[in-house]
């Protein structure tokens, strides 16, 4: 699979950065919101105080006319000279006082005794307070039974408040960003440290070769909980690989060794033919011999390839569409093919089929299994003996037993009889034409069909080869 490589480190860093960003945004938002609320509350209180203080400047005229006058000279100076506050004091609809910068069209909801409002005036944000029924504080000149009240509107610019909130927001955001940077650095360091065992493990794994199969997991990688399944899996994988590699190498070594003999014979035949000038008849005989030698070599190669194919198939590398076949038919074929050999050794071949057995298989493969088992049995049977093949069912599996009454196989050799190039007697090969591959091929084929092959032997009594195949009764 091609494509950009993914980095665990990058992924983790991205996660950290994103979560930090969310955190910073939340912090800025709540900070600004809270500050804005607090500042506005303070401003509102200030507005009320200022409104009341301008309202306090209204008093009755001293002439007893009960007219209301406004002491303009006592108005406190604005805090911000360039953006002064503005105000208006009315009695009912009569305007008693109005600041010079009072905007023209300003209306308020007059129903509530007290109303705050944010507004824009000459391009600036203002906050205004509208107060109904403000009592007149001047009691000295007040007419008796006076219940006059004033309407006061006072507005203050909120520019300073906005600036403060903005500054606080920027400050929080900057602080968050700096913290974010520090967190990323810290996370980088932590992740690198955390992933270090993985790198050590990788470096160790890189040391694995056909000479060195041992995975020495670094101790700090062994302690990492998440890496344990990985190191364990690598260990078992390496074990399996090594086993299979060693098997292959042994097979190759054996094969090369086995090939040497026929090659040596062929070479010696040709060399002795060339040793001196010979007659045409001698050359002809020599070439005939060389051809025979060649055929033996070819036969060995054929069996080696057959074994390799059976084993490859047993490992599921090949898939074939298979038909259901009758097992006893393949046994009959195999026995028919070996009648000649059996007769020459004066051995009786018997087939006993208890029940019909059907199995999904290639008939040639099964026939080859029986031929190999039977050949072996015939080879080790004493003259006049009987080799019996019996077909039956056991525990839902088809069982084929090939039985001889030969000398039997010693217990110590029993586990090795299926090894390739193995012969019970390391040398009795040649006359019998076997290469020590027959049983290995039989085993590989049986296992390819999901079956098992079990040898049982009693010294002096004979050997039973039990083949179990998954099968159904017809």
């Amino acid at each position: 699979m091609k494509g950009p490589t993914k980095s665990i480190k990058g992924h983790l860093i991205l996660t950290v950065v994103l979560s930090q960003l969310v955190l910073a945004a939340g912090l800025v938002f709540t900070g600004v919101f809270y500050l804005q609320r607090r500042l506005q509350a303070a401003l509102d209180a200030d507005l009320q105080a200022r409104a009341m203080s301008v309202a306090a400047l209204v008093r009755y005229a001293e002439d007893g006319s009960h007219n209301l006058v406004f002491e303009k000279s006592l108005v406190p100076p604005p805090l911000d000279l360039s953006h002064p506050d503005f105000y208006e004091i009315r009695k009912d609809t009569t305007v008693l006082a109005r600041s010079p910068n009072w905007p023209a069209d300003l209306t308020f909801d007059n129903t509530k005794p007290r109303a705050y409002r944010s507004l824009m005036s000459s391009g600036l944000p203002y906050r205004a307070l509208h107060l109904n029924e403000v009592p007149i504080l001047d009691r000295e000149e007040a007419p008796p039974s006076s219940s006059d009240t004033l309407i006061v509107v006072y507005a203050e610019p909120t520019l300073a408040l906005r600036k403060q909130v903005l500054a606080a927001g920027v400050y929080i955001a900057l602080a968050s960003l700096i913290l974010l940077g520090a967190t990323v650095l810290l996370a980088l360091w932590g992740i690198r440290r955390g992933l270090l065992p993985l790198q050590l493990l990788a470096a160790e794994a890189a040391q694995i070769s056909s000479q060195n199969w041992e995975l020495r997991a670094p101790p700090n990688a062994m302690r990492v909980e998440e890496l344990k399944p990985l190191t364990d899996a690598m260990g078992t994988m390496l074990d399996r690989l090594r086993q299979s590699f060693l098997q292959q190498r042994e097979f190759l070594g054996n094969a090369a060794h086995e090939l040497k003999t026929p090659v040596a014979i062929l070479k010696s035949t040709l060399q002795s033919l060339l040793q001196k000038p010979r007659t045409a008849a001698e050359y002809e005989a020599g070439l005939g011999q060389a051809l025979e030698d060649m055929e033996r070599l070819e036969k060995l190669l054929h069996w080696m390839l057959r074994l390799a194919r059976a084993e490859q198939w047993a490992q599921g590398a090949l898939q074939r569409d298979l038909e259901e076949i009758e097992i006893s038919n393949t046994c009959e074929e195999a026995i028919a093919g070996l009648r000649g050999l059996a007769r020459s050794r004066n051995i009786n071949l018997e087939l006993k089929a208890e029940s019909s057995l059907v199995c999904k298989a290639d008939p040639e493969d099964l026939e080859l299994v029986w031929v190999n088992l039977l050949e072996n049995a015939i080879r080790y049977s004493p003259a006049g003996g009987t080799v019996k093949v019996s077909i039956s069912r056991h525990n839902g599996r088809g069982t084929v037993v090939v039985e001889d009454h030969g000398p039997g196989i010693p217990d110590k050799d029993l586990p090795h009889i299926f090894e390739r190039f193995r012969r019970a007697d390391p040398s009795r090969t040649r006359e019998s034409g076997g290469f020590g591959l027959g049983l290995a091929i039989a085993k590989a084929l049986v296992e390819a069909y999901g079956g098992t092959i079990t040898p049982e032997s009693t010294l002096g009594q004979g050997t039973r080869m039990m083949v179990m195949l998954p099968s159904e009764r017809k």
Binding site: H257, I265, S272, S427
Partner: protein, 222 residues
């Protein structure tokens, strides 16, 4: 010279035998299993044994050890398919004199066999010289005083055997045992025929006899 080949591959054994007969005029016997090989090597006086390792009944290494255990000093050349150092060392330590790995070259086998026999008889050079007689064992050329002397295969066999043991008395029986293989009918008077033929061919003008007859004991080349 008489050589024993212990090899279960009959075809291989026959090829080697043919090469030894044609290329060195040796008498050759073949044993196709270990027990037969050991019996023959112990009962017949061979000048060299060529021994395969993978043998039926008795494997080559055991055969070699038993042979050496029974004080047999016959040179042994081992033919092996194994090239590993350990197995070669084990072979030489068991008493083998030389080894060849299969598949080998028949020419090399022939040369090594000749060298082993030579050494076994206490000779170093492939050219044997007795007085003015010169026998080149590598190409089987015989010269006396620089003159080429053509010999029959059997005459050469007799001369070569005597020349390997100059000054020693070699009985007729010994000659018969070393010049003929197992299957040959052995008649002692045949030896006399070859000896007289050799004398006639080797005689130069000097009238000095090289082959001496010691009545009732045997022959001597001097």
């Amino acid at each position: 010279m008489r050589v024993l080949i212990v090899e279960d591959e009959l075809r291989m054994a026959e090829n080697i035998a043919r090469s030894l007969r044609e290329g060195a005029s040796y008498a050759v016997d073949i044993a196709t299993d270990g027990e037969e090989g050991l019996y023959m090597a112990q009962s017949e006086p061979y000048d060299a044994v060529l021994l395969d390792l993978m043998l039926p009944r008795l494997d080559g290494l055991k055969l070699l050890k038993q042979l050496r255990h029974s004080k047999q000093h016959t040179p042994v050349l081992v033919l092996t398919a194994r090239e590993e150092k350990e197995s070669v060392v084990a072979l030489l330590n068991a008493g083998a004199d030389d080894y060849l790995t299969k598949p080998f070259d028949l020419g090399e086998l022939l040369a090594r066999t000749k060298a082993l026999i030579r050494r076994g008889k206490g000779q170093a050079s492939p050219v044997l010289t007795i007085g003015n007689l010169e026998i080149n064992t590598s190409n089987r050329a015989v010269r006396r005083a620089g003159k080429n002397i053509p010999l029959t295969a059997m005459e050469y066999r007799v001369l070569e055997y005597l020349a390997h043991r100059p000054g020693a008395i070699v009985s007729k029986a010994e000659l018969l045992e070393h010049l003929y293989d197992y299957n040959w009918e052995k008649f002692s008077n045949v030896i006399e025929v070859y000896i007289s033929g050799l004398r006639r061919k080797l005689n130069d003008d000097s009238e000095r006899q090289l082959i001496h007859t010691l009545r009732g004991q045997g022959y001597m080349l001097q």
